[in-house]
C-alpha cells in the first residue's frame, strides 16, 4: 500500500479548510483500527519497573495496569511523574522491569510510536518553524504523504483552535499557544495513547475548558490519556482514576472513590447542609460511629467525620425524618484528589 499523493515538495500549506482524507488515508485508518482491535485489552502494563539516575531513584518497583480512559498522575515535584511518562514514551529505559504499551515493547519504536503521542514538559521547539510547519514536518517524518499530512495538520490545529496562528512562527507564540501547539503535535497522528505532562499549564480558563472537553472527547473514543497535573481540582474533574506518586513509589492507584474508601485510617468527612445545623450536630454526636462533628464556618451546615459511612447515612435518614429537618445537601467533603493528596502525600511528609 502506498499513501503517495501529489508531491509539492515544499512546506507550503494550502490555506483554507482541511482537505478531505483520500481513499488511501481511509484505508490506512482501517488498518490502524484493525491494529487496535488486535491489541484491545492489552492496555499499558508496568511490571516491576524501576529507574535510577546513577545513585538517584527516579521510580521504583512500579506495577501498574492502565486501561483506556483518563488517568491522572498526581504527586509533588520530584515524585517521579515525568520519569514515569518518559519511560512510557521510550525516552528513558527502565533500569529494571518490563513495560508494554498495547502489547508493544520499547524495542519496537517503529511500531510503538505510531500509537503514542507525547506532550512533554519541555517548552522547546525546532527552530524557525511556523505552527503549521511544526506539525506538518513531523507528520511527513512519520511517513504520511503530503495530502494526508496536510489534512491531519489542519485537523490537529483546529482541535486546539490555532488555525489563525498557523502561519506564524512558534517562537512568537504566547505560553498558552505554545502549550496548545505541543498538544496539537502530540495528537496530530491520531495516537491511541496520549501522554500529557502538565498539559493545562499556561492556558487561560477558556482554553482550559476547551482542552478538557477535548480530553473527554478522546476518552469517549476509547483512547488512553495519561495526564500529570499540579492542579488537583482539574485532575479531580477529568480523571477516571488516579495514580498517586511520592518519592518514586506509587502510594495509591485506582478510581478516586475506591482509593478513598480503602483509607480506613482517615474517617470520611461528610458536609451536611440543613436549616438547623446546631441541633443536627448535637444529635449526631450520640452515634458511636461518628468520630467528630463541627459546625461549618458559614454556620449553614455540619461537617461530620465517620468511620462507617453506610451506617451513618442510614441513621441520618431516620434522624431527618424524626426531627423534621430541612436538608439542602449531603455530600462527601474529602472524596477527591485533593484529599487523597493531603492524606497520602502531605500526611506522610508530616509523619516522617
Amino acid at each position: 500500500m502506498s499513501l503517495e499523493t501529489s508531491e509539492s515538495g515544499a512546506l507550503e500549506p494550502t490555506v483554507g479548510s482541511p482537505v478531505s482524507p483520500d481513499l488511501e488515508s481511509e484505508k490506512a485508518r482501517r488498518e490502524g483500527s484493525s491494529f487496535q482491535k488486535a491489541h484491545e485489552g492489552q492496555g499499558i502494563v508496568f511490571e516491576n519497573v524501576s529507574r535510577f539516575y546513577g545513585e538517584v531513584l527516579g521510580v521504583n518497583r512500579i506495577n501498574l495496569r492502565i486501561e483506556p480512559g483518563i488517568t491522572g498522575l498526581v504527586g509533588p515535584n520530584g515524585s517521579g511523574k515525568s520519569t514515569l511518562m518518559n519511560l512510557l514514551t521510550g525516552l528513558l529505559r527502565p533500569t529494571r522491569g518490563t513495560l508494554k504499551v498495547l502489547g508493544l515493547t520499547l524495542d519496537q519504536p517503529q511500531e510503538l510510536f505510531r500509537h503514542i503521542g507525547y506532550c512533554s514538559q519541555f517548552d522547546s521547539f525546532p527552530k524557525g518553524l511556523t505552527g503549521y510547519e511544526f506539525i506538518y514536518s513531523f507528520l511527513r517524518i512519520h511517513g504520511f504523504a503530503h495530502g494526508p499530512a496536510q489534512t491531519m495538520t489542519w485537523d490537529a490545529l483546529g482541535k486546539v483552535s490555532l488555525e489563525d496562528a498557523a502561519q506564524r512562527k512558534v517562537a512568537g507564540y504566547s505560553k498558552g499557544m505554545r502549550q496548545r501547539i505541543k498538544l496539537a503535535q502530540a495528537i496530530s497522528h491520531q495516537p491511541t495513547v496520549l501522554v500529557l505532562d502538565e498539559p493545562l499549564n499556561g492556558l487561560d480558563p477558556m482554553a482550559r475548558a476547551e482542552i478538557i472537553s477535548l480530553f473527554k472527547e478522546f476518552r469517549e473514543e476509547g483512547k488512553f490519556l495519561i495526564i500529570s497535573s499540579h492542579i488537583l481540582h482539574e485532575v479531580d474533574v477529568i480523571s477516571d482514576r488516579v495514580v498517586l506518586l511520592n518519592s518514586g513509589y506509587v502510594v495509591a492507584e485506582g478510581e478516586i472513590h475506591g482509593v478513598r474508601d480503602e483509607m480506613e485510617e482517615h474517617p470520611m468527612q461528610v458536609l451536611i447542609r440543613c436549616d438547623r445545623p446546631a441541633e443536627l450536630a448535637a444529635e449526631i454526636f450520640r452515634f458511636e460511629y461518628v468520630a467528630g462533628a463541627q459546625i461549618h464556618q458559614d454556620r449553614q451546615g455540619v461537617l461530620v467525620s465517620t468511620r462507617e459511612p453506610a451506617r451513618f447515612f442510614l441513621a441520618l435518614n431516620d434522624l431527618v425524618v424524626s426531627k423534621g429537618l430541612l436538608m439542602d445537601s449531603v455530600r462527601p467533603a474529602d472524596d477527591d484528589v485533593h484529599a487523597l493528596y493531603e492524606y497520602l502525600i502531605e500526611g506522610e511528609g508530616r509523619s516522617s
Binding site: 500500500m1 499513501l3 490506512a28 491494529f35 528513558l92 519504536p109 511517513g143 485506582g254
Partner: protein, 287 residues
Amino acid sequence: MNSTSNVASPEVITPQPQNSSGANWSLWRRQLAGVVRLELRKNILSRRMLPLLLLAVLPVVWMAIISVAPLSEADRLKIEPNPAFAFVFRVYYLKIAIFLSCLVAFVQLFRGDILDRSLHYYLLCPVRREIFVAAKYLVGSLSSSLVMAASVAATYLVVHLSFGSASLGSLVSGLLTYAAIAVLGCLGYGAVFMLMGLFFKNPVLPAIGLFLLELANPFLHPLIKKISIIHYLISLLPHHVSVGAFEILASKTSPFISVPSLLVVIAATVWLASWRLRQMEITYSDD
C-alpha cells in the same frame, strides 16, 4: 487499575504496514525525505551557515584581490597557477576551511537539537534511528560539500584565469579533481564531527584535539600519518606542495586505497552514530 470500560475501538492512522520481509523501502524513503526536508528548512537559511559561507568566500575574494593587484609582468609570469592553487588548497582548504565548515555543519546536527531540547520530537517518531542519522548526515554533507566545492571551483578558476593559460581540458579536469577531494573531505570530517556531537557534551574539545593532530600530520611518523583523514586527502592531490622544511615525507597512498579507505571509515562512523542514537535517552538536564 482494573476498571472495565465498554468503549468503541479507537482508530489509528498508520502510515504504512511493513511487508512480509520486514523491509519497507517506500516508507523509509518518505521518512528520509521528511527528515531531510525539515533539516534543510532549519539549517540552510539559519545563522549557523554564516561561518561556513565566510570560510568559502574568503579565498575567492583574496585570490581575486591578488589577481587584480598591480604586479609587474615578470612577477606575474613567476606565479604558476597549479602549484599556487595546490598550496592554497592544502594549507587553507584542507587544514582550515573544510575542517571548520564541517565542524559548524555537522556537530550541531544532533548536539544542536539536544541543546534546543527538541531531539525528543524526532525520537518519538516511528522511524528507524538509522534513517535519522542518514538523513542528517545527508543534509550536513549536502550543505558543506556544495559550499566548499563551489568555493574551491571559484578559487581555482580565479587563479587559473588570472595567472595561467592551461587548456580547457586540463582546467576542467583539475577543477573536478579538487572539487571531488573537497567533497570527500567534507564527507570524512563530517562523519567524525557528527559522531562527536552524539558522544560528547562539549564536542569542541575533541575537535580541537583532532584539529591539532591533523595540523601536525606533515611532521608525524609516516605510519602515524595514516591514522588521519588529511593524509588520504593529500594523497589524492594532483600536485605535491611542501608545507615546511620539517615535513616528513611519506609515500602517497594510491587513490584506489585512499578513496575506499575513507568511504569505509565514513560508513563505520555513520553506523556507530546510529548505534549511539538507538541507545540514547532524553535527559536534557544532563546536557
